[in-house]
Symmetry: C2
Subunit: 483 residues, 2 copies
């Protein structure tokens, strides 16, 4: 019973803080976010040391991840100071509305209430305790109950202490943030009636289980789950002809980055047969130094999943990948279009870690069935020379329908924190394909519209008051446009 | 097997049309919407006659509803012509991005794919075959498979014929629209793998069942259900002192409008005790002419649900409502704050039809528990004199958290079709509280973001091309702002 009581306390405290925090000024929320960013930077050395011990990640990567996390927090602070996130719309009373009287109507977004955030293993800062989901929810004005990832418990507690301190300094209400730990506690959190939304980054299996729980509640809540993604790469015949070696090396570089432990790792590449793509990729793999996985459990899962590819008749093991003292080298598999199409569901499953599959196609007519046979993904990468490349239109059309981001002559790893970023995609890439979880538009998951009809000016939120005292961007009297 | 085969055909045809329709020009989609509007107006007399025979609704109401439906279609046509709905964001390569190179990133919204729309009984035009959900989905570029409501089958078929004709004239692809009928067919539609989203207006029970089906799919889809709503009204002591009679009459007018068959019918009013509110409302009810319900089945459901209120000890029947030859007069019940709080869940359930409950409170300290005890709703109405009225702050704060639209000194019926409208709210009002189903922003349910990274200009959609040839509104280089 210890678990659920902790969850109850955290969720009830979040519910108790929700109104005051939701009504707090944008400036005070920006200060909170900036305070967390400053706290991370101030304790950088200790945090990195703890993270290195718990995650096997190298120092330079962790230093960069603190930079990114601080940047995210400050980007959300800038956003809420601008007021753009409330998407204010003002429609004055309209005498020309053809369906009778149109009253004064003003709309803005308000926080949804307490949010459950599940931290990820592979970004101990940027998708963890003070990561993007926490930043987005706090920016929106939603209290956060954070389920820590068991792969880095001490770092989670140290980061939570920074958030608590920043919250106190910014005058945020008690209960605005809490850290909980444990799998059953996470389930109880999603089930708790006080929670209004949940955000998750992790495995397909775990994410789907929590999604189902969120949907089965007496009062269902949105579950923003970023699950598995195989992130296909398509190489046109023209591109292979021009620079097959460069593309093969780039593929391996992206595949092996961070020992393959990124959501956007390219797991499958469709390359023209007879261009030597797989051999060149294998040569590149032979130059990759072994890397350690984030945890023993993740390493075990990775090694077990090697069978997914090698167990399919018609899939050749180009490089099995080695494991020595916990460090692995990348694995590479190769197959043909017919084999892929016959087993596309199994071969489209993400293998978390440095493992890739080369699917060799014979001609561009195979690209349409291949592209539509692969599972929807976060990203969709194409290497081409020009708009006229064979099959390119099909690849791009499938990518628009089956992914959230299409990369042209680049690689999917290295996700820019930008208002134009879409880190999401149709299921199974995510459980909520209308939203990104990276970049400032990720705040939209935690805001819901409320319309004010016929209000006296002094009772309107300042964002909607006639004089616009906060000078927020607003759309005004759109409905008159070109009537 | 007849049912599912029809559904399969319609869903597969929609899937087959999705890409061509999604990539069709905004202008051609606007023409389709305008063609449907013109078709409705051209066949107005015949449509109204069919609707009168099937729905018991009076001619003037149906004429007005055609006006509204045509207005909605044209409002969406204007929106897609403007290009505002794609919410284009352009971020040029950023040399000053502090986390390394920021590539060229451009984001816009694309259609989600085939949409299942469930027509409602109570708006045979505006929330039916060519109603708001259909207009929003077609405007977004999504094919629609429409499940007709059994209360007006002939009208549904006649309207579908108009949509088919307009689609052919606008050159839309085959399969862009289909009408299906039958309850099991509706279930099969939500289960069909080709469908990418569903929109529904109807009962809590039916909507929740379909929501559960949508969530249980192998590949879950968003289910935008507008379910039950009790639409509370709060009268401050000051307002009652000034104009209790006017408010009581207004309440009955809104309650009885359309024989109480609106989603936004005010079902509960919290009025100060000792002001004679219930007696004045009863007097107003005595002047209301009997009205016919939409169908025999809806009438039966309405009469059965009378027990929900009268069966609770402490609830007084002020007016039982009469039924004669299928026509009903409004029913009115009265109770006190303690009784309401003890039975708030039962008394917060919507009773679809002209039935209302007056909850008399003794002083403003009771308003907080009353307001937080009532189920979340589409609307939240307050009658007050001034910002200082007792309990007003609490009522408004609860309304922000527990409804989608707050009306000040007005009534919730009569929903304006406006970009600032929010017709939605937390569960059980809807299953997706981040979205409206009325007004042009309803298009957001059927669009998802796609990001283009490092694209050559000639391969970008025109909305994102550097020269902006369609002159769509765009946000550009936001991330530089006040860095």
């Amino acid at each position: 019973m210890a678990g659920p009581a902790v969850v109850d306390r955290a969720a009830e405290a979040a519910a108790g803080a929700a109104r005051a925090f939701g009504e707090s000024s944008a400036a005070s929320r920006a200060e909170l976010l900036e305070g967390i960013a400053a706290g991370l930077e101030a304790e950088r050395a200790a945090l990195v040391a703890t993270a290195m011990a718990e995650t096997n990640l190298p120092e330079a990567r962790l230093q960069g991840e603190i930079d990114r996390t601080a940047y995210q927090l400050r980007a959300f602070a800038r956003l809420v100071r601008s007021g753009r996130h409330v998407r204010a719309i003002v429609e004055h009373p309209d005498p020309d509305y053809p369906l009778g009287e149109a009253p004064d109507l003003r709309l803005m977004l308000h926080p949804v209430g307490p949010v459950a955030v599940f931290a990820a293993s592979n970004f101990p800062f940027a998708f963890s305790v003070a990561g993007g989901d926490t930043a987005a929810a706090l920016a929106a004005g939603c209290p956060v109950v954070l389920k820590a990832h068991p792969a880095h418990p001490e770092l989670s507690r140290a980061t939570a202490a920074i958030v608590h301190r920043a919250a106190a300094e910014a005058g945020a209400p008690e209960g605005v943030f809490a850290l909980i730990e444990g799998q059953s506690e996470g389930v109880a959190l999603v089930e708790h009636p006080a929670m209004r939304a949940a955000a998750f980054t992790g495995s397909l299996q775990g994410g789907r289980a929590l999604f189902d729980i969120a949907a089965r509640r007496a009062s269902p809540i949105p579950f923003y789950g970023e699950l598995g993604s195989v992130n296909p790469v398509f190489v046109t015949a023209e591109a292979a002809r021009d620079r097959v070696d460069e593309i093969a090396r780039g593929f391996v570089g992206s595949l092996a980055l961070g020992t393959g432990q990124f959501c956007t790792k390219p797991g499958i590449v469709f390359a023209p047969a007879g261009t030597g793509f797989a051999d060149r990729a294998a040569a590149a793999i032979d130059a990759v130094a072994p890397g350690r996985m984030l945890s023993e459990r993740i390493l075990e899962g990775y090694l077990e999943r090697g069978d997914v590819f090698s167990g399919v008749a018609g899939v050749e093991v180009v490089r099995p990948g080695t494991e020595s003292d916990g460090a692995v080298t990348p694995a590479l598999f190769r197959t043909d279009a017919a084999t892929f199409l016959a087993h596309s569901e199994r071969l489209s499953e993400e293998r978390f870690g440095p493992s890739g599959l080369v699917v060799e196609y014979d001609d561009e007519t195979q690209l349409a069935p291949l592209a539509s046979g692969i599972a929807a993904s976060l990203t969709w990468t194409v290497h081409a020379t020009a708009p006229g490349d064979g099959g390119l239109d099909t690849i791009l059309a499938e990518g628009r329908e089956r992914s959230g981001r299409i990369i042209f002559n680049g690689w999917p790893t290295g996700v820019t924190v930008s208002p134009a970023m879409m880190h999401g995609g149709p299921y199974p890439a995510t459980t909520a394909s209308l939203h990104t979880s990276v970049g400032t538009t990720a705040i939209g998951r935690f805001l819901r519209p409320v319309s004010y009809q016929g209000f006296p000016d002094e009772l309107l939120p300042p964002e909607l008051a006639e004089a616009n005292p906060l000078a927020v961007p607003r759309e005004t009297d759109l409905s008159r446009e070109s009537r």
